[in-house]
Every structure is written in structure tokens, then in C-alpha cells.
């Protein structure tokens, strides 16, 4: 039973992959860039799900998959054009199929009405295509194929009367479609040969002369004599996937079984016998008779076609193994310890006063290099492309366009960009919300768009890219942009800002991130359910990321998220502040400098600024801000780190000295303590002591809060 559960789990995991393929293929078809290979891939995906589902008696899934497959088959045989309407139905069917798989996995009930409606819709498509029937499509276009019953292995029967060896005469005449769908007779025969005493004969009677031969045709037939203890159902099951594409006859001959399988009947004495052992080779080894050579070529031909068909799959996914995530995480933790340990060792060696040229130092350098490589390797195990995440979003856009009556297309870019699995997982909710916002609030209704001189179809773009050690994910729309006047009014109405407060456009846009803010006129069930952009912002921040808005009236908005590639390590600058060691994330640092006396200016009572590339950046004394010392240090003679925050404001942080620049392992402060404002996390340094990692954005935001009067706003945003 346990094994069964495991196999079932594997099936569902594979289903997910198939569903991904399906969606990619359908999207390509919708874009009109699909070749026959894509269509085949789509078909195969549904077919595999159907096949697997049959084995697990998931009847509902099988039934729907079959209807779906039937319609896809019509597309494949060019009987059904891939018009936008058809493709919409197909995509919706794919969504439903995904839901059915999910429901079957968790044994949840499904919305029968929805299934029936979708089946009816697919059937209607098939009916419309039937007007141009084709002989080549025997049964494929048959909408009545709904009563498809998977042939199941009847386990109960096995336990019944003692299994008695029976002799079966099996005739198999494959149709060309069998090969076209990627099946292979040699495999079927090999499986048969495993069931018992086995004899096979190849019937080459129907093989035409070479000049009349269709290389993709199927001319060979096989006659098999099988003596086995397995029952007939087991044999039928073997042919389950090809039954539609071949003629199969299974005759039981119990009496003959007793006599043994001697003297094959008077079948085609001229045909060469192929020994079961030789079946392992794909080409039939045959006597040097010209016609046999052709037979071999014919047999090899579908094989080749099959290999080609399988090629895109092979290139898309190299061999993989499934590993328990927990094992990977344990490994990552261990490597983290290794990194710390290696750093401690380096420090000890340094303290021992060994010369840099000593062999110990050299060995240690090599160890450091190796440690880093191991760490990168282990991190790469957790990295995954954002593609599945993006695919989920395309479904959301689809559902939203149906619900809102807007016409929106989702364009994705950089799907292969890889990022830590946890980041992907925790990005799903905020991203869903942002996509919903883009469709619901961003893109206008078709008539409004046309009035504004824009195409009726709106576009939401989702892109991912690596940028200087971080992943940047952007959600942009070509809608109306943020209605700043309204945002301002709402913020005033809700008491979030003072009526007379002056804000820049950027600041108004950032009001969207305030808790409880929602600009939706009416609360729709799409966006506006009390969870707003503040939740999005908080989720992104919790991942060590930041989010920014750029919006142009009439042209649309861009929400840009910058996230760390991994949540386990960080490149940082180790600095000393008032006897404490701190780590500043390298990504935030723009430059470091030692200010001269003339560059520091006092501004007001206790604020100071520094000349910075033609402008002035406020000086923040890190030690004073964190409460490590009461008086700010003199910036002249100290080291200044110029940092840039999420809202692109520059600040100059005053520290005492820079010690080092290194990769540090991130350790949670929240696990045993709680979140500390201005501090992102902790790490353990080479001397075994804990050092805090500065969170530039909240740190600077806090400083601003104490320095300006906009307390309620910034308290909420930060």
C-alpha cells in the first residue's frame, strides 16, 4: 500500500510537469508560433495524464482528459483551426485539468457542473470540426469516445483460482498513428516476452516494393504466441496506450498450453522469426534479402521519428533526480557552518602570526576557494527557474480577463532566470496580488483604451532578470497609470496624511503601500479584499527585497521588485562602529570615501550633509543611531559609506573603519528573538562572535522619521 502511495505521488509530480508543458505549448499555440512538434507535445502531455490517471482509477480525470485529448487530436490532424476562441477553450480546459489533478491528489470534490460545461464546450468544438472528416482520423474525432473505459489491472482476479498457464495467440497490426504518437512495437513485444514463454513472428506480407513505400507508414504485423500465467486483462493492459492505433487480437488457447508451444501454426512460413532476445535491438536483424532490408528500414524509420520527437524534451530537461528538500536544507546548513568554521580557522592562523607565504596560509587559501565553490554549488541546488511561477500568473490573467471583460495579454520575459526556491514560493502571493492589481486597476476597459488611442488589448508584462547579484522582477502594465489625485484624496480621507501635506509624485505613489489603502471604487472580488499593497511590500521586505513603483499617467505603471538570489548568504562589508562589528550589505553600497574637512557641511542644529556628486547626502552616524554611542563621531577622519535605498535616495553612513569584505552566512534574529528595526539579520564572524547585518532601507527610514515631522507616513511605510 505504501509503495502504491509513493507511485501515486510520483504520478502527481509528473502530472505537474506535464501540466507545465501543456500550458507552455498552449500559450505558444495561442501566439501562433507553434509548430507540429509543439502540438504533439501538448497532446502527449494530456495523453500521459490520462494514461496515468487510468492506472489509478481516477475516472473523472480520465474522462475529462480523454475529451480534451480528442479535441487536441483534431488540432493535431489539422481538422480544427487554432482560432483565438478555440485556444481560449483549450487554455480553460488546461486550467480545469490542472484543478482536476489537484482535486484528485487531495481527494477533494470537484465542481461537476464546471467539468460538464467544459466537456460540452470541447464536444461542441469537436462537432464543428467533424464537418471535415478524415479517414486517417479513425475514432480520434469521435466525440462519442466519451465512454472510454481505461482497462485496468484487475488485482482481485489474481487472487482467484490458481493461476493457470494459458496460451495466447496475439496478432498485432500497428497503424501508422501508433508510431506517430511515439509508441514502439519493440517495447510492447519486449514486455510481452517478459510475461512468459514467448515466440514472435514478423509478418512482412504487406510490405510494398521500395518505390511504393511510405517511410512513415506501418507495414509490418506481428504474431505472438505467449504461454503465461498472467490473465488476459494483463495482456490487454500492456496495449492500453496503443489500442486505438492498432488492430489487436488476443485468442486464448488453454488446451494448447498444456501441449507446450511447439509447432507454430501455418503462419507466414517465409517470414523470418525474430528471437525474443534480439528484440532489444531496434532494427530487425534480417537475412540479406532486399525486401528484408526495407523491412528493417521501415521499422527503423518510426524509431527515428520518435527519437526526433523526444529530442526537444531531452534538451529541455536533462536527467534529474528528486531529492527531499529537507536533505538539501540540511546540506546547506552544514555548508553554512563550514563557511563559518573556515573563517574562524583563517582568523586563528592570522592571529598565530604565520607568514602569508607559509604553506599553511596557502592551503587555507585553497580551502577558502573550495568552500566558496561548495557553497555556490549547494545554493545552486535550491535555485529554480521562475517559469512555473510565471505560468501560474498567466492563468490568473486569463481568469481575470474573463471576469472583468477587459482584454489583457500577459507577456513574460526571462522565465529561465533562477532564484532560490524559498524566494519563489514566497513570491507567489505578492506576485498574484500585483498581477491582479495590474489587470484590475492598471489596464483600462477596451472602450476607454480605444478612446485614448491605445489598442483595445492591454498588456501586462512580467519579467525577471539577474542584476548585480539580485533578481529583479517587474510587473508592468500599459494602462492608465496611478491616479495620483485619487490616491491623495483617499489618503486624506482615511486620515493617513494631513490635507495640506506636500508630496512629490513618487511619495504619492508610495502611499499605495500604506496599510489598509485601497483605491478600488467598489470592493470587487478580484483585488480589494482588505489585503493591499502593504502586505505585498511586507512580504517582499521579509524576503530581504524591496519594491518600487514608476508610474506615468496614461502610459502605465511598473512595479519593480529586487530580491536576493538566496536567503542563506550575503556579500557584505564588515565595518567597525564604536567597538561593535557590523555588516553592511554590499548591494546597497554605492561608494566608500574618507571625507575631507571642506566636504562636510552642517545643516540646521544637528544635521550634517556631505557633498556627493554635485548634490548633498545626509550624514548618518551609525553608532549614534543604533545607540552604541551618545555623540556622533566626527565624519572627518571616519569612513563614510554612501548607500542607496529602495527609493533611490542617497545617504552617507559614518562608520569608524572598514575591516573586510566577505560573504557572510545569514542567521535569523527572529528565530530566538524578534525583528530589530534597522537590522536585517545576524551572522557569525570568524572570531565566533555574532555581528549584526544592517538593513539599509529600514535603517535610513528610521533616521528620517526621527529627523522629520512626517512621522505617521513613514512609520507606516517603513
Amino acid at each position: 500500500m505504501d509503495t502504491m502511495a509513493a507511485i501515486r505521488e510520483t504520478f502527481f509530480q509528473e502530472c505537474e510537469e506535464q501540466l507545465g508543458e501543456l500550458e507552455v505549448g498552449l500559450n505558444a499555440m495561442e501566439e501562433g508560433v507553434a509548430d507540429s512538434e509543439t502540438v504533439n507535445a501538448v497532446f502527449r502531455a494530456v495523453h500521459s495524464i490520462k494514461g496515468g490517471a487510468g492506472a489509478f482509477k481516477l475516472d473523472r480525470l480520465v474522462r475529462f482528459a480523454h475529451t480534451f485529448e480528442t479535441s487536441l487530436d483534431l488540432i493535431r490532424s489539422d481538422q480544427l483551426a487554432t482560432s483565438p476562441t478555440v485556444m481560449r477553450t483549450m487554455l480553460r480546459s488546461a486550467d480545469l485539468l490542472a484543478d482536476l489533478v489537484k482535486a484528485s491528489r487531495s481527494d477533494h470534490p470537484v465542481d461537476e457542473a464546471r467539468v460538464e460545461a467544459q466537456i460540452a464546450e470541447l464536444k461542441a468544438l469537436s462537432e464543428s470540426a467533424k464537418e471535415a472528416p478524415s479517414a486517417a482520423n479513425a475514432g480520434g474525432g469521435d466525440a462519442d469516445g466519451l465512454d472510454f473505459q481505461p482497462v485496468l489491472l484487475e488485482i482481485g482476479n489474481l487472487g482467484a483460482p490458481e493461476p493457470q498457464a494459458a496460451r495466447y495467440a496475439i496478432t498485432l497490426i500497428p497503424a501508422p498513428d501508433l508510431y506517430r504518437k511515439g509508441n514502439e512495437t519493440v517495447r510492447l513485444l519486449r514486455e510481452l516476452s517478459r510475461m512468459g514463454e514467448f515466440r514472435v513472428e514478423c509478418d512482412t506480407q504487406h510490405l510494398p516494393p521500395l518505390d511504393a513505400l511510405d517511410p512513415e507508414g506501418a507495414y509490418l504485423a506481428w504474431r505472438v504466441e505467449l504461454t503465461t500465467a498472467e490473465d488476459e486483462a494483463a495482456i490487454h493492459e500492456l496495449f492500453e496506450f496503443v489500442i486505438d492505433d492498432c488492430e489487436l487480437e488476443i485468442v486464448v488457447d488453454r488446451a494448447a498450453a498444456a501441449l507446450g508451444a511447439n509447432a507454430p501454426a501455418e503462419t507466414a512460413p517465409t517470414a523470418p522469426s525474430v528471437a525474443a532476445g534480439a528484440l532489444a535491438s531496434p532494427s530487425v536483424s534480417a537475412p540479406a534479402e532486399p525486401i528484408e532490408a526495407v523491412a528493417a528500414a521501415t521499422a527503423a524509420e518510426p524509431e527515428k521519428a520518435k527519437t526526433e520527437a523526444a529530442k526537444p524534451d531531452a534538451s529541455a530537461s536533462a536527467p534529474t533526480i528528486r531529492v527531499d528538500l529537507e536533505r538539501v536544507d540540511r546540506l546547506i546548513n552544514l555548508v553554512g557552518e563550514l563557511v563559518i568554521n573556515q573563517a574562524m580557522l583563517s582568523q586563528r592562523v592570522l592571529e598565530a602570526g604565520l607568514a602569508r607565504s607559509s604553506s599553511v596560509a596557502a592551503g587555507l587559501g585553497a580551502l577558502e576557494q573550495l568552500t566558496r565553490e561548495i557553497q555556490e554549488g549547494v545554493m545552486a541546488i535550491r535555485a529554480q527557474p521562475v517559469k512555473p511561477l510565471f505560468q501560474r500568473m498567466s492563468r490568473i490573467v486569463r481568469e481575470l480577463t474573463d471576469a472583468t471583460g477587459k482584454i489583457v495579454r500577459l507577456r513574460t520575459e526571462g522565465e529561465a532566470t533562477e532564484v532560490d526556491r524559498t524566494v519563489i514560493e514566497r513570491l507567489a502571493d505578492p506576485l498574484t496580488h500585483m498581477i491582479r492589481n495590474a489587470v484590475d486597476h492598471g489596464v483600462e476597459r477596451p472602450e476607454v483604451r480605444e478612446a485614448a488611442g491605445k489598442p483595445a488589448q492591454g498588456e501586462v508584462k512580467l519579467s525577471a532578470a539577474h542584476r548585480s547579484g539580485r533578481i529583479v522582477i517587474e510587473v508592468s502594465d500599459d494602462g492608465a497609470g496611478i491616479n495620483r489625485q485619487r490616491v491623495r484624496e483617499i489618503a486624506i480621507k482615511k486620515g493617513l496624511i494631513a490635507p495640506d501635506a506636500q508630496f512629490t509624485d513618487g511619495e504619492i505613489d508610495n502611499l499605495l503601500f500604506m496599510p489598509g489603502f485601497s483605491t478600488a471604487q467598489s470592493i470587487s472580488n478580484i483585488s480589494g479584499r482588505g489585503v493591499g499593497m502593504d502586505v505585498v511590500k511586507r512580504s517582499i521586505q521579509a524576503l530581504g527585497g524591496r519594491i518600487t513603483i514608476v508610474s506615468r499617467p496614461g502610459q502605465g505603471s511598473i512595479f519593480s521588485m529586487s530580491l536576493p538570489l538566496t536567503l542563506a548568504v550575503l556579500d557584505g562589508m564588515v565595518v567597525k562602529v564604536a567597538d561593535q562589528t557590523l555588516v553592511v550589505p554590499l548591494t546597497a553600497i554605492v561608494e566608500t570615501l574618507r571625507p575631507k574637512a571642506g566636504e562636510v557641511h552642517a545643516l540646521g542644529v544637528n544635521a550634517r550633509v556631505i557633498s556627493d556628486r554635485g548634490g548633498f547626502a545626509p550624514l548618518i552616524d551609525v553608532g549614534q543611531e543604533l545607540g552604541y554611542r551618545d555623540e556622533a563621531a566626527d565624519p572627518v577622519g571616519s569612513v563614510v559609506l554612501v548607500v542607496e535605498t529602495e527609493v533611490s535616495t542617497r545617504c552617507a553612513l559614518v562608520v569608524d573603519a572598514i575591516h573586510d569584505q566577505r560573504q557572510v552566512v545569514i542567521k535569523s534574529l527572529e528565530a530566538n528573538y524578534r525583528q530589530v528595526p534597522g537590522i536585517a539579520a545576524a551572522t557569525i564572524l570568524g572570531d565566533g562572535r555574532v555581528a549584526l547585518i544592517l538593513d539599509i532601507d529600514t535603517f535610513v527610514a528610521r533616521t528620517n522619521r526621527s529627523a522629520t515631522a512626517q512621522e505617521p507616513l513613514l512609520a507606516a511605510v517603513g
Binding site: 552604541y628 534574529l669 530566538n672 528573538y673 530589530v676 545576524a682 562572535r689 555581528a691
Partner: protein, 154 residues
């Protein structure tokens, strides 16, 4: 006031320790280990009783100065002090005390209710009083030792 949750019939073990001249104890089941003092990294914006964080075999452990928490003067931490590593809920924290003095086995009957004294600190953490051999030992309930966020912000 909540009584220490000890089944009457079952004796349980407590670890007793000293803060200044007074003695307190905690349930041994919540104690993970006892270790010597190591310098802690100060945490900004932390209550005064949080002395900072130390590295406990790769995890970051906050240290609570129990003396300060109970309203005594701050412990002058040195190599003589010890850290009792305890589990409170899902978190593990270190309690800085002057010395571990004893392991006590007792039942609920041994614990007397805390006398009505003025100190809020005592009221919030001391769940009962033990009288053993003329010594008076306060039983500390750990739940409130690390405060909630709101209290820290106040």
C-alpha cells in the same frame, strides 16, 4: 495569580540559581544547557535587560540579564557569571545569572503562593515561593521573561 503547574503527586526537579544574594529556581525541563559567559553583541533598540546576542553553535541566542529583568541592578557580567540556556515556547534564550546553586526535587505542596509585595517585577515572574532549610527560593515562570513586541516598543 496562576500557580505553577505541577501535578501534586509527581515530584519535579528545579534548578536553583543566585542573583545577588537572593535565590530563584526554574523548572529543569525547560533548561537546555548551562554555559559560561561570553561577550555578547549588543542589540540596538533593545530593552536594557537584553544584553545582546551570542553564538550558540551556529544559532543566534539572545541573552537576558535576569537581575535587570527582575528589577535588580544590572549584572556586572564577567567570566564568573553563567548563562542558563532555556527553551521558552519555540524560542531558545540565555538567562544571565550569578551562579547555579542547587537542583531541587519537590512537589506542588512545597510551593507557597507569592506574598503580596509591591514589586511589579516580582509579581510578573515569581509564581511561588519555596521554603527549604530556612532558605527562601522564588519559582520563576519563564513565559513572560522575553516580552512581546508591543511592550518593547512602549
Amino acid at each position: 495569580m496562576k500557580e505553577v503547574n505541577v501535578a501534586a503527586a509527581e515530584p519535579r526537579e528545579f534548578i536553583a540559581f543566585r542573583i545577588g544574594v537572593q535565590e530563584f529556581c526554574i523548572d529543569i525541563m525547560s533548561v537546555r544547557e548551562i554555559r559560561g559567559w561570553t561577550p555578547a553583541t549588543a542589540l540596538p533598540h533593545a530593552p536594557a535587560y537584553v544584553r545582546g546576542v551570542i553564538n550558540l553553535r551556529g544559532s543566534v541566542l539572545p541573552i537576558v540579564d535576569l537581575a535587570e529583568r527582575l528589577g535588580f541592578p544590572q549584572t556586572d557580567a564577567s567570566a564568573r557569571q553563567v548563562i542558563i540556556v532555556v527553551q521558552v515556547g519555540a524560542q531558545i534564550i540565555g538567562l544571565l545569572v550569578d551562579a547555579v546553586s542547587d537542583i531541587l526535587t519537590l512537589t506542588t505542596e512545597n510551593i507557597q503562593p507569592t506574598p503580596d509585595v509591591a514589586s511589579d517585577f516580582v509579581k510578573s515572574f515569581v509564581r511561588g515561593i519555596l521554603a527549604i532549610d530556612g532558605r527562601m527560593i522564588g519559582v520563576i515562570e519563564l513565559d513572560g521573561v522575553m516580552t512581546t513586541e508591543s511592550e518593547a516598543a512602549a
